[in-house]
């Protein structure tokens, strides 16, 4: 009798543990990748990559938060990197870009290894300005984790970033932002 009670207690405890784990799930990627490209044909490519972007996902509330430190964006051309930081995005004053949003009509239990288009709606904040981003990203399962990939378009105007007329035709009006998160 006593043994049975202990067994039941242990089973209950284990159950409590597993259900706790599956409901309050927080997945994290500390080394996510975000790239942006604003190249114009015939001119030097304007692109940069940040390979230590943080992304946190709450799979119960279907919320996602991401943070990229501006100084972490690396350009091939060091002078371009310097101008980007000092003249355009002013990273000393605005050192980070953040995104906070929700995955719409998303259920982690429906997720398979095949990428699925999921609507993500949220706010991107950088250079002291905020913009609503409503886009579709590819979401798939990978082991116990989740992979999120995709891209969206923003413009320098959205964030009040002034491009001097002298380089205006060398920088695209639309900036393509691509992301690749592997959350575990």
């Amino acid at each position: 009798m006593k043994i049975r009670r202990t067994t039941i207690t242990i089973t209950l405890l284990l159950l409590a543990f597993t259900s706790f784990k599956s409901t309050a799930q927080r997945l994290v990627d500390k080394n996510g990748t975000v790239e942006f490209e604003a190249s114009e044909a015939l001119f030097e490519p304007v692109e940069a990559k940040n390979e230590s972007v943080t992304a946190v996902m709450d799979t119960e509330k279907n919320e996602i938060a991401s943070l990229a430190l501006i100084k972490g964006f690396r350009f091939k051309n060091s002078l371009m990197e310097e101008h980007f930081n000092e003249n355009y995005i002013e990273s000393e004053t605005y050192p980070k870009a953040t995104f906070k949003g929700k995955l719409i009509d998303f259920n982690i239990t429906d997720l398979g290894n095949e990428p699925k288009k999921v609507r993500v709606d949220g706010k991107l904040q950088l250079h002291g300005k905020e913009k609503n981003i409503d886009t579709h990203l590819d979401v798939s399962k990978s082991g116990d984790g989740v992979v999120i990939r995709g891209s969206f378009i923003v413009t320098p105007d959205d964030f009040d970033i002034k491009i001097p007329s002298i380089v205006k035709n060398k920088i695209a009006k639309e900036v393509k932002v691509s992301l690749d998160f592997n959350l575990n």
Partner: protein, 137 residues
């Protein structure tokens, strides 16, 4: 006489071309900083550095961001190409660095301060290299 003038014009054109080439090269192929070869501006313990950022981010950004720092601490997390010191400072190494890290190992690294990550509450360092592996703290 005519020959001489042509010669001079030729020389001037050549000089201008070289100058333009050098200017182009300086603009489009200028070298990135080599953090591992730079002298560190500050030597600081990982928990101290994070304390500054967590308490006054704006002034810490002014003081430490983009500076080369020598940071000491104990490894609390090991990932593919990065480690975490005292749970408070995340260090990303140069892409081709070969390192064997262990949890609990005291270490001193040198790298560039990128800023403060408020999601993880960690200070981020990139382009890091190992200074001392057996440093006793």
């Amino acid at each position: 006489m005519k020959k001489r003038r042509l010669y001079i014009i030729g020389l001037v054109v050549l000089a201008l071309a070289i100058l333009a080439g050098v200017a182009y090269n300086m603009t489009f192929n200028s070298k990135h900083r080599e953090i591992s070869k730079e002298e560190a501006t500050f030597q600081i313990a990982a928990d101290e550095l994070q304390y500054f950022f967590a308490n006054n981010e704006a002034s810490s950004v002014q003081k430490y961001m983009d500076e080369v720092l020598e940071v000491s601490g104990t490894i609390t997390e090991v990932e593919q190409n990065s480690i975490v010191l005292d749970k408070r400072v995340m260090v990303n190494f140069l892409a081709n660095a070969e390192n064997n890290f262990e949890d609990g190992q005291p270490i001193v690294i040198k790298g560039r301060c990128v800023g403060f990550d408020e999601l993880l509450l960690q200070v981020k360092i990139d382009q890091a290299s190992v200074i001392d592996k057996r440093h006793q703290l």
